[in-house]
């Protein structure tokens, strides 16, 4: 039922994009799609919006991401619409599989509704960076694990963020360089998959996230991201996440990102690092 609702919502977004679509932005400047469905980065939401639309256009996209860790597997599907290079609306569904649990609850599902507004600036043009504010409303579909590990809220949580991104043309021995800095107010445990808040802390804390990337060509980017995470549960330590990535963006219809993501310790299992693959397709 939920999946059906998501497919419907995705269909509506795709139609909205198709109805008045555009791809007027420069190649690579829409970035890729991050793990919660917002335009980014991989782990970090950037100030860029999810589509190639300019101020006169709409665009829409769908994405899927898979992160394979030693003890877990995270799979994410979603859709996004970007409107007049101003507003981004996204829906994502995360499935977090517990690979080594023989019985009982072996899967956590979280839905994320994202909204992002570009406040000022353009990532390429002008002296100022592009700045955006966003919200990610997260809802757990099954709260058994979040309850068992002692999360304060096992139903829903809201992240608010401010992101600033800028591309500097030709500054790195002639190569273009992009950076992003994001501040996120959150109380999500492990992105929200383990609920929101805990006995250590049950209020929103500001976390810093950052990314740097070098654009090796109009189609290829390499980079690094860092995402600070809260540590709300005294029984289950949580660590910051980081990744190194290679993104291949052959055209404005499709891109694929390969990364090595290190998510640290998750629910008592340490060294959760592994391969990250993400695809975004643009519809119009």
């Amino acid at each position: 039922m939920t999946t059906l609702r998501y497919l419907l919502a995705g269909g509506v977004l795709a139609f909205a994009g198709w109805a008045q679509a555009g791809a007027g932005k420069l190649q690579e400047t829409a970035g890729v799609t991050q793990v919660e469905g917002s335009g980014g980065g991989g782990l970090v939401p950037w100030a860029t919006l999810s589509g190639y639309d300019t101020r006169d256009e709409w665009s829409s996209s769908v994405f899927m991401t898979r992160v394979s860790l030693p003890d877990y597997r995270l799979q994410v599907f979603g859709a996004s619409a970007s409107i007049y290079d101003r507003l981004e609306l996204s829906l994502a569904r995360q499935t977090f599989e517990l690979k080594n649990v023989p019985f009982g609850e072996r899967e956590i599902n979280q839905r994320i509704l994202g909204l992002k507004a570009r406040v000022m600036g353009d990532i390429v043009y002008g002296n100022w960076p592009q700045m955006a504010v966003g919200v990610q409303y997260k809802e757990l579909e099954n709260d058994a694990i979040a309850s068992a590990i002692g999360a304060q809220d096992t139903d829903h949580g809201t992240d608010l963020y401010l992101a600033v991104s800028k591309a500097h043309l030709g500054v790195l021995w002639g190569y273009n360089l992009v950076w992003d800095l994001t501040l996120r107010a959150t109380k999500a445990n492990q992105f929200g998959l383990l609920g929101y808040g805990g006995d250590n802390n049950d209020s929103h804390e500001v976390m810093a996230e950052a990314a740097v990337a070098a654009l090796l060509s109009r189609q290829l980017a390499i980079g690094f991201e860092y995402r600070q995470k809260p540590d709300n549960l005294s029984a289950l330590e949580e660590e910051d996440a980081h990744d190194v990535f290679v993104a291949y963006l052959p055209n404005k219809q499709f891109n694929i990102t390969f990364a090595w993501a290190d998510l640290g310790i998750i629910a008592g299992e340490d060294n959760q690092s592994g391969a990250y693959v993400s695809l975004t397709g643009y519809l119009w």
Partner: protein
């Protein structure tokens, strides 16, 4: 206590890296880019390829219907020559004057950037050199779009 401290240090080092980025820019000699583009001969070749690319783009070429192409060619060569540090002075009209009433959209501007990139590719200009020229042309955008 040790772990949060370590995290903080990691983050700090990243921020320092971000802050120093503009300093990573190498300072070239004044006419280095002009020579990288192949001097007057190279810039002329890029311009001719650019005009060729525009000619095959139905959406962009309509903005050139009333353009004196010989004049455009001459002034564009001058402009790129001057911007790249070459021995020229741009003698054309201001970017605002040239583009007034053309109502060029953001998407058309970017499409034209793509045509210039294609022209530079055709002329065998290396990617880093292309970026350096694009960086010098980018500030003209506010004077060109939606005039």
């Amino acid at each position: 206590m040790v772990i949060p401290m370590l995290r903080f240090l990691k983050l700090c080092s990243l921020l320092v890296l971000l802050a120093c980025l503009p300093a990573c820019q190498t300072q070239p000699t004044d006419d280095a880019l002009y020579h990288e583009l192949g001097g007057m001969e190279g810039i002329t070749r890029i311009t001719d390829n650019f005009i060729y690319e525009i000619g095959f783009d139905k959406n962009i070429v309509r903005h050139f219907e009333e353009t004196d192409l010989d004049r455009f060619r001459e002034k564009f060569i001058e402009q790129v020559c001057e911007l790249s540090g070459g021995p020229c002075r741009y003698s054309g009209d201001s970017m605002v004057d040239v583009h007034t009433n053309m109502n060029i959209t953001e998407a058309e501007f970017n499409q034209t950037v793509d045509l210039l990139i294609a022209a530079m590719n055709r002329s065998g200009i290396a990617h880093p050199t292309q970026n350096k020229l694009l960086a010098l042309l980018a500030p003209t955008r506010p004077d060109i779009i939606y005039q």
